[in-house]
């Protein structure tokens, strides 16, 4: 039952739905194409065709990159490391700071809160040029800049450096969200724990964090998708193809001087899209709310 006011008659609802449908076509069409295209030799518009241009030509050959192209698994693994590293980092640092801002009175708290808010509105993408120099400096710090397994280090041209930059740029949002979640849970249990002599850190870990699992889940999904999708920051700060991510790799396929074989490239694109679609199907409510608050930079 829908009790919305002023819904009007059945016909008006139908007209509104048709209008919505028409406006939404440009969005849907791209996804329809990418699915059809990856299973076709080529496509004319949305119609799969064979080498002679006749309708038909369905094939699985476009997916051969999964075993024929050694790069794909390396760049996918890099993207996965980026996404997971970013998620752990953002959740850990944001929930620490968010807890302190929500629960502890310390000198500079108001300043930090105000700064977080201003930074949340500030377009961090304008700092890319300057961050390039920061990363080059970090590279020179012994033990930190380079030579760390898996992430390579935290300097320029390392996966760790990209994780660190993205982590920092997402912090204003993360801290703000986490503080909001902490603000909305009752502090009775926590207070009892503190009075009983439980340390702040242990209280945070054992008493408070378990109560904001939905918040942590939402921030994790957001961070994971951001890391997995990110193009600009790895593209800017990673120059080795060995260390590049799937988005940058896909872009290099599109940018090749030879005429683009759309069907093969589309398969790589769909491959990158799969985890996102899975999250999209199962966690739409989370995403609708968090991407509204979380949108930064990109348009």
């Amino acid at each position: 039952m829908d009790d919305r006011l002023g819904m009007g008659g059945r016909w008006r609802v139908l007209i509104l739905l048709v209008a919505l449908g028409v406006l939404t076509i440009p969005i849907v069409v791209g996804y329809v194409w990418i699915v059809i295209s990856t299973f076709s030799q080529r496509t004319y518009g949305l119609v799969p065709v064979d080498a002679l241009g006749q309708p038909g030509g369905l094939t699985l050959r476009n997916w051969s990159f999964l075993w024929a192209d050694p790069n794909i698994w390396r760049v996918s693994l890099n993207s996965l490391v980026l996404a997971v590293g970013l998620t752990i980092g953002v959740v850990l640092v944001s929930s620490l700071a968010g807890y302190a801002l929500s629960r502890i009175s310390f000198p500079g708290r108001r300043i930090f809160l105000g700064t977080t808010l201003v930074l949340h509105a500030f377009p961090s993408v304008t700092l890319l040029i300057a961050i390039y120099f920061v990363l080059r400096w970090i590279t020179r710090i012994p033990g930190l800049g380079r030579g760390i397994p898996i992430i390579g280090g935290f300097g320029y041209n390392t996966l760790g450096g990209v994780i660190l930059v993205m982590l920092a740029l997402q912090l204003p949002l993360g801290i703000w969200l986490m503080k909001g979640f902490f603000d909305h849970i009752s502090w009775d249990i926590e207070r009892a724990a503190l009075i009983d002599g439980c340390s702040r850190l242990r209280t945070w870990w054992q008493i408070v964090l378990p109560q904001i699992k939905p918040g942590i889940a939402a921030l994790s999904i957001f961070s994971f998708i951001s890391g997995w999708n990110e193009f600009l920051i790895p593209y800017t700060y990673i120059t080795d193809q060995q260390k590049s991510t799937i988005a940058a790799y896909l872009n290099s396929l599109l940018g090749d001087t030879a005429p683009v074989n759309y069907s093969q490239v589309a398969a790589v694109g769909l491959f990158q899209l799969i985890p996102v679609i899975i999250f999209f199907i199962f966690t739409q409510e989370y995403l609708l709310s968090i991407f509204a608050g979380g949108t930064k930079g990109g348009a």
């Binding site: 819904m7 640092v93 629960r103 909305h184 999708n229 940058a248 930079g297």
Partner: protein
């Protein structure tokens, strides 16, 4: 959102506060532990870069000078911006890009979708809003690839094949033919979801009495939108407009992927990026690029402070719940 916490008042501070040197040391150590990582990251990746970008904009640093033999040139880079032959066109492009995308999509379409999805059955409305979120979730490279195929020349392109062909319009590759159309569309379909979500929650939180009154008075749908809904959501409208202006002004990722500034679509932020970090000649002009970026950084700082002031974000800063322990 649950409101249980706000209903409970803060404890009487004096009642439980411990006094003593040991305690005060510990009370400082705690916050340090919690705030330390965030503080370091914010300083290293926000504050230091702001200083760096301003400082480098006053130098002639480039690949030619390297990091060793550059020198301070005061405001030379800014003078260069003013006198540069491309400045006028890039500025025009930027205004065109921001104005068109903002009015048609980030505010206009966002409002249309929010209004439509709140006037159809709830489940259908939710489904459509989810679909409109999809472009924002999609990896930007994949998303732009889809649009390139939409615009591609016959016989491949979707637009030529399914819309313009049947209408008898000569097929072409529409991306170079109508670059601005696709710049606005690609950015717009991503950008609309921000306003859509905010407008939707604003519309849904309008008190039922207003709607009932309007219905009793026999308002048509259009009158209800014009005289009830729009006036009541003017604050979110203003917020989305200003916030998205800043976002669009500084965003260039989609344009970079779509045209890379070709066909006369170079905007200010992309120009800065090209000059400092990515150009075909491999001659990175960090000084000049930083000056271009510094203009945007300063606009960003001013506008961020303005939001803080006028959207009363300060009121969100409530006192902590347990500060006594």
């Amino acid at each position: 959102m649950p409101e249980s916490a706000s209903a409970i008042s803060a404890p009487d501070a004096g009642e439980v506060r411990r006094v003593g040197d040991g305690a005060s040391l510990r009370s400082l150590l705690g916050p340090l532990l919690f705030m330390g990582p965030a503080t370091v990251l914010v300083v290293v990746f926000f504050f230091v870069p702001v200083v760096i970008v301003l400082a480098i904009s006053l130098t002639d640093m480039s690949t030619a000078t390297g990091f060793g033999s550059w020198k301070w040139v005061q405001f030379e880079n800014y003078r260069k911006i003013v006198s540069h032959p491309n400045t006028g066109q890039v500025l025009g492009n930027t205004i065109k890009y921001v104005a068109l995308t903002l009015s048609l999509f980030n505010v206009g379409m966002a409002l249309v979708i929010a209004l439509l999805t709140t006037h159809v059955p709830r489940r259908a409305g939710f489904l459509f809003r989810s679909l409109w979120l999809l472009p924002r979730l999609t990896p930007s490279v994949v998303y732009i690839m889809m649009w390139r195929y939409v615009a591609a020349d016959a016989p491949y392109g979707i637009l030529n094949r399914h819309l313009l062909g049947p209408l008898g319009i000569q097929p072409t590759n529409w991306l170079p033919a109508q670059p601005w159309l696709f710049v606005v569309l690609t950015n717009g379909f991503i950008g609309a979801s921000f306003g859509m979500v905010i407008f939707t929650s604003a519309i849904e939180s309008i008190h039922r009495d207003y709607m009932i009154a309007a219905l009793v008075d026999g308002c048509s749908l259009w009158q209800r939108v014009r005289y009830v809904i729009l006036p009541l959501i003017r604050w979110p409208l203003l917020f989305v407009t200003t916030y998205q202006t800043l976002s669009l002004l500084t965003s260039f990722e989609q344009i970079l992927l779509l045209t890379d500034g070709q066909f006369g679509t170079e905007v200010w932020s992309l120009w800065a990026y090209h000059r400092a970090l990515s150009n075909y000649w491999g001659n990175f002009q960090w000084g000049f690029g930083a000056a271009l970026a510094a203009v945007l950084v300063l606009i960003g700082i001013v506008m961020a402070l303005v939001y803080m002031r006028y959207f009363q974000f300060n009121q969100l800063i409530q006192e902590p719940k347990i500060e006594a322990l």
